[in-house]
């Protein structure tokens, strides 16, 4: 299957690959996986006291679409507040990357990773209760 140019660009030059200290109080970590294809995604955010995402990093083991979705997610999250970041929708990611229907689940995975990272941060800060 042919990847779109944008997917290829993110796949060949992934933005913000890396790892943050998951134990740091200002870091939120989201770890998600898709069993059907075995993809694993780690997405981390570093948040300032006023709730703005200063930095975002990811590491994804999976197909090009999964890598591109998480790479794009980190780009979009930077500079946003955590509440704004939580509103990023998989459909917007899929549209931007022109993902074909069979790869939509990759963008869903990225959205779920964003939500998990924000939730982890909020839990650390006592903004929401642990589940």
């Amino acid at each position: 299957m042919a990847y779109s140019e944008k997917v290829l660009d993110h796949y060949e030059n992934p933005r913000n690959v890396g790892k943050m200290d998951a134990d740091a109080p200002d870091v939120g970590t989201g770890m998600v996986g898709a069993p059907a294809c075995g993809d694993v995604m780690r997405l981390q955010i570093q948040v300032s006291d006023d709730g703005i995402i200063q930095d975002a990093k990811f590491k994804t083991y999976g197909c090009g679409s999964a890598i591109a979705s998480s790479s794009l997610a980190t780009e979009w999250m930077k500079g946003k507040t955590i509440d704004e970041a939580e509103l990023i929708k998989n459909t917007t990611i899929a549209e931007e990357l022109a993902l074909p229907p069979v790869k939509i689940h990759c963008s869903v995975l990225a959205e779920d990773a964003i939500k998990a990272a924000v939730r982890d941060y909020k839990q650390k800060k006592g903004l929401i209760k642990e589940v």
Partner: protein, 175 residues
């Protein structure tokens, strides 16, 4: 998937619906059953009979492929009890962390091209896999442990992918 419309795969092989399956015996039964629906036996049959034989052969093959694979067998057992989506996001933290570590280890092994280290790594994966299988065999028998059984089956899927990645690496290193 409309699984309910199908003949029960276990019944097709005269087996009890449990996770423990003797795959060698399964293969023997499969070959016997496959003979009964082989196209050669229907060379002089009506078109309808031939079509039915083809359908039965396809179903038998699906059943065999499903029951042969421990992961597919586990998912089949779970789906007999209740629906389970094909695609889903899991947040099984501890296991995903382990998954990340294994993927990183595999990357290192690829760079090192160390076959002995790769063998040790495969041993570790096999151990993890058999632990999951053993735990699943117990959970699937207990309706109250449905969620844990699902989690274990999802882990099996990830391990299948790991073994696939390992085989890919072994092939590259063999060249």
């Amino acid at each position: 998937m409309g699984q309910s419309q199908h003949t029960d795969y276990f019944a097709l092989f005269a087996l009890q619906p449990t996770f423990a399956v003797d795959t060698a015996a399964l293969a023997v039964t499969y070959r016997q059953l496959a003979k009964d629906v082989h196209p050669d036996r229907f060379a002089n049959a009506t078109a309808a009979e031939q079509r039915q034989a083809v359908e039965r052969a396809a179903e038998l093959n699906d059943a065999f492929q499903t029951l042969k694979s421990p992961t597919q067998r586990a998912l089949y057992l779970l789906r007999q009890q209740a629906e389970m989506p094909e695609e889903t996001t899991i947040q099984d933290g501890e296991f995903l962390l382990q998954q990340m570590e294994w993927r990183e280890q595999l990357e290192d092994l690829q760079e090192q091209a160390d076959l002995q280290a790769l063998e040790r790594f495969v041993g570790e994966l096999k151990q993890a896999r058999s632990k999951i299988d053993n735990a699943f065999a117990l959970c699937i028998e207990d309706p109250e442990q449905r969620l844990q059984a699902e989690r274990l089956a999802r882990r099996m899927q990830f391990l299948d992918k790991m073994f696939y990645e390992v085989r890919q690496l072994e092939e590259r290193l063999d060249d």
